[in-house]
Symmetry: C2
Subunit: 206 residues, 2 copies
DNA sequence: TTAATTTGGAAACGATCGTTCCCAAATATG
DNA sequence: CATATTTGGGAACGATCGTTTCCAAATTAA
């Protein structure tokens, strides 16, 4: 029996307490990894950005890849929460699809666009050589595709999207549009151009 | 007066002649850079793949970035030639757009898909921090977008694409579809799924 | 109080990075 | 022929990489 389990509060473990918040540090790491990519982001850059000494970093994480994977998971958690919030404000299925595409378009221009998407960056840089990274990328893509699929079906149920639209193939197309926007956003287009792509894509739901 | 200029043939320069073909070596470098990315591709890997000693490599190229940019330019030259060939076999404008999208879809699955696109990889990994790389990426993207635009207009002229289609915004959407397919192809989808995206995108030209 | 444990932070480690140097070989020029 | 020039190839360089080690500080448990 674990006497600590009687309390809902986690008992403070022995030893000197950590002086930084893991999630705050990961938020800084996300910026470095997104802008620079996995290989170009050095431990030196990471520790500076995260405000930690190398020793502290390696007590919190096994190695560089563990930092990266934790940052990836944190990134997905934050972005999923923001997307969920955006979708909750939506009306019918068609409106939710629009909001979702707009969500990606807004992340694909300006400073945010140049910072880049950690999922896309991971797919490009680590997708082939690292199984753990690839699995996370695939899970993320599959989730996005499934979400688009379900929103299209919701639109067909509420009448905002015609029955003639094929949910599966259309979801796959819209997924590739969102990933493509993220690529273009690294070097390129301004807000209006990103949003015009969304408007054009929505014609597939007419 | 340069007496050598009287001949159309390039006069062999003094010194020991190079024993390898630059373009053949670059074709090997393209594979390494595409699969691994710029930073993960080490000089050691590159020289092994290219079949050269480090010294020879640095006599042919100023530094690692010069190797990369030469490989990028070679990649674009080869891919553009293949695309041009594919388009020359096309019928009307609509068919040419289809062939162009299919050209990207075919490069976005299986071994070729996992190898990846050097333009997409460069945008992600170097787009923000290297001006020369960014300029090449932007030139490539702009060229592709302009080509799609012109093919759509061609289709409107020959009657295969409705006048209601807006060439500029549709070209931009199709560009982002092609870039997205390349991202998905790194970890994912099989041939049929890639081609189904193309079929769905073509509905925008109905 | 004492022992055990964990963190903070800096110094140090071996490995690998991109690059340069050096010398023998191969060619053009005089 | 000798000389200048360029390449091939490998050894060597300093810098930086990711990681480990070490010690003082902070905490829990006994």
């Amino acid at each position: 029996m674990n006497i600590n389990a009687t309390s809902g509060l986690a008992a403070r473990p022995p030893g000197r307490p950590r002086e930084f918040e893991i999630e705050e540090a990961l938020d800084k790491a996300i910026v470095v990894f997104s802008e620079r990519g996995y290989h170009a982001a050095s431990i030196s850059e990471l520790k500076d950005a995260m405000g930690l000494a190398a020793g502290s970093l390696y007590k919190a994480f096994k190695d560089k890849k563990a930092i990266f994977l934790a940052a990836f998971d944190r990134y997905k958690q934050v972005r999923n929460a923001l997307l969920e919030e955006e979708l909750a404000a939506g009306g019918n299925g068609r409106d939710k699809v629009f909001r979702m595409l707009r969500f990606y378009a807004e992340a694909s221009h300006g400073e945010h666009g140049r910072r880049g998407c950690l999922v896309v960056g991971t797919a490009i840089e680590l997708g082939v050589y690292d199984a753990e990274a690839a699995e996370r990328v695939n899970r993320s893509m599959a989730r996005t595709e499934a979400l688009l699929d379900s929103l299209i079906r919701e639109g067909q149920t509420d009448g905002s999207i015609p029955q003639a639209v094929d949910p599966a193939t259309t979801a796959r197309l819209l997924l590739s549009v969102t990933q493509g926007l993220r690529v273009l956003g690294k070097t390129g287009p301004d807000r209006d151009r990103a949003l015009s792509v969304v408007d054009t894509a929505m014609k597939l739901l007419d």
